[in-house]
Symmetry: C2
Subunit: 361 residues, 2 copies
């Protein structure tokens, strides 16, 4: 909190309180607020770090410059794995993260970033905003002195890059695979050795042979990160994140100190990026995918038995968390019902039309 | 424009210009602006009209009361079919519409609301915000003295309610069917008699037997409108709108007169409702669908030959518009390429995972 800078504008109060034709003029917030936001992304990832910059700019525009958030790329203030702690202890006011990186602190963060075989991006938004998700997760983050907001979503991920083909569950045995979050715990159950590595360091690890494969997001970012140069098999789907929601972590004391209008600005700008980040990724992936495949990437689909094994392991892992933690179970049970309802509805309409449409392409 | 009320707050300027530690204080917009917004929806449709109200409230919050938009339900100021004209001529500053209702003025409005067998809701957002769609459509609306913004999306629609089953293309012959937009023109090619009726009047038309069937949006609204009481066959999918985007129409002079910060507030609040309206519908549809089916609604899928005939007719109708209008073609050709690319990408990842997930439910 020490770097936040509250200034009061002396003298403006009387003028702002002046009564006008049509009623009293509203009193405008006077605080000059400066926040620092650390992202977990290198600047080259313009859909992720770029979205954080657009979010910050919008907050500045909405508050007419009174509330300025500066966006700092991975490592500029703290390295990616420390963003959570830095927000929690107030070194920075906010962070732009995939909370799945921090699921070791609480497995319920998986509901925030997206669970394996979980909700797709639209279903996740429905759960967060109108299905009780945001409120349920606020209780989890509150234990860490943090108020969180959804600030983007990347959609479903690709299943990653591999040096060798994955033809059966046996091929996962001993596989050193870079993956964030609960997906890693599930792959570990199947014999893989998950590695949690920030995006800026994945390529080198893969190139040096320290790992056998790596997943990040999808074609647009993956191409920039260069994975296709060191691992040619590109798998789909990224079952470990049916959608990957990006989260704004805000230090609770900093949040509570904001004037109401600035909170509104953060909320609106964050929700705007939920649709904008997804739109940017969706618009950018197709050309990147074509370039990758044109350049030699071998597109593969995980064999059904592999997906089935992962699905079963997912149920076991999540069930295990629920058995151990009443707090996890309190979110998990209604989340399961919500997912079942969403899948029912999406199958009836959205998936039916998409399936027909795709049969013509 | 006559009802807009610009006030200048005398005396506040000097105080607001005061220099503070850390640099000059930004000058805050002083205009008190009042807008009236007409929606095309009865108040009972709380996902549609309610979203318009939330949008208006957010703009007020973001501008700290300086910019107030009042939301008026269908008929309160003008009847739904006149909302477009009222915005165009400045009777009201803005309208909350499905622009497909007005496609008779320009068939390119179909790209705004969603074309038959067109983009799904996420693909539509990608096209609008990062695929050139918003800019292309701004040129179309500018001919009508209107600046438009996406302000919501309902997702894919259901295929409507029918008194009799649709077993073949022949069953469309002579069918008096309530449908908005270009979908009606396509059904007419197949022998149906499309009727454009505002939502508040559909039930009565169906009850009196003036029409044989009707579509609106999906379970949540359809249940409120009571269609299941007078037509028992409920079809999927609503192929005429792969997604139905809701649009804010703004009188151009009113838009141009806004201070920059108020424009930002409108943009952010409108984008926020893109995700929020969709989330509200997605979260609300499953329970409504269960109640409808539990109450006797017969769920049916359009037979493949019917969909194929509609798909073919769609290509002919849209191709016809393109042949007649260079302005339409200028949007249509890149839109077709964009759709093909989106479908390619969605099939690889999103659809692959959704299909697997749904196989377990």
């Amino acid at each position: 909190m020490k770097r936040r800078d509250f200034l009061t504008r002396a003298g403006a109060g009387a003028a702002l309180g002046a009564t006008l034709a049509g009623g009293a003029a509203p009193a405008l917030a006077q605080s000059q607020v400066r926040w620092r936001m650390s992202t977990m992304w290198p600047k080259s990832l313009d859909a992720m770090h770029g979205s954080a910059e657009i979010f910050a700019r919008r907050v500045g525009q909405l508050t007419e410059g009174r509330f300025a958030i500066s966006a700092h790329a991975a490592g500029e203030i703290v390295p990616p794995p420390q963003v959570f702690d830095a927000v929690q202890n107030g070194t920075i006011e906010c962070g732009h993260v995939l909370s799945s990186f921090f699921f070791g602190k609480d497995p319920a963060f998986g509901f925030d970033a997206g669970m394996p075989f979980g909700l797709n991006a639209r279903q996740q938004a429905a759960w967060m905003y109108y299905g009780g998700g945001l409120q349920a997760l606020r209780e989890v983050f509150a234990r860490f002195n943090i108020v969180q907001l959804p600030v983007g979503n990347v959609g479903v991920q690709m299943g990653g890059w591999y040096r060798k083909e994955i033809k059966s569950v046996a091929d996962l045995q001993g596989l050193k695979f870079r993956i964030g979050g609960i997906g890693g715990a599930i792959l570990a159950k199947l014999g893989a050795v998950p590695q949690q590595i920030p995006p800026g360091e994945i390529y080198t690890s893969l190139e040096k042979g320290l790992i056998d494969g790596a997943e990040w997001i999808g074609p647009y970012d993956d191409e920039k990160l260069g994975f296709h140069k060191v691992a040619k098999y590109y798998y789909t789907p990224g079952w470990w994140e049916g959608s990957a929601q990006v989260t704004l972590l805000v230090n609770k004391k900093a949040w509570d100190a904001l004037p109401q209008a600035y909170k509104e600005a953060v909320e609106a700008a964050a929700a705007e990026q939920y649709v904008m980040m997804l739109a940017k990724y969706d618009a950018s992936h197709p050309d990147a995918l074509k370039r990758l495949v044109g350049g030699g990437a071998q597109l593969r689909t995980f064999p059904r038995p592999v997906l089935d094994a992962c699905y079963k392991a997912t149920q076991e892992v999540l069930g295990g968390f629920a058995a151990k933690s009443p707090e996890f179970k309190k979110i998990y049970d209604p989340w399961l019902r919500f997912r079942a309802d969403q899948n029912l509805w999406f199958r009836v309409a959205e998936h039916a039309l998409d399936s027909y449409r795709y049969s013509h392409t």
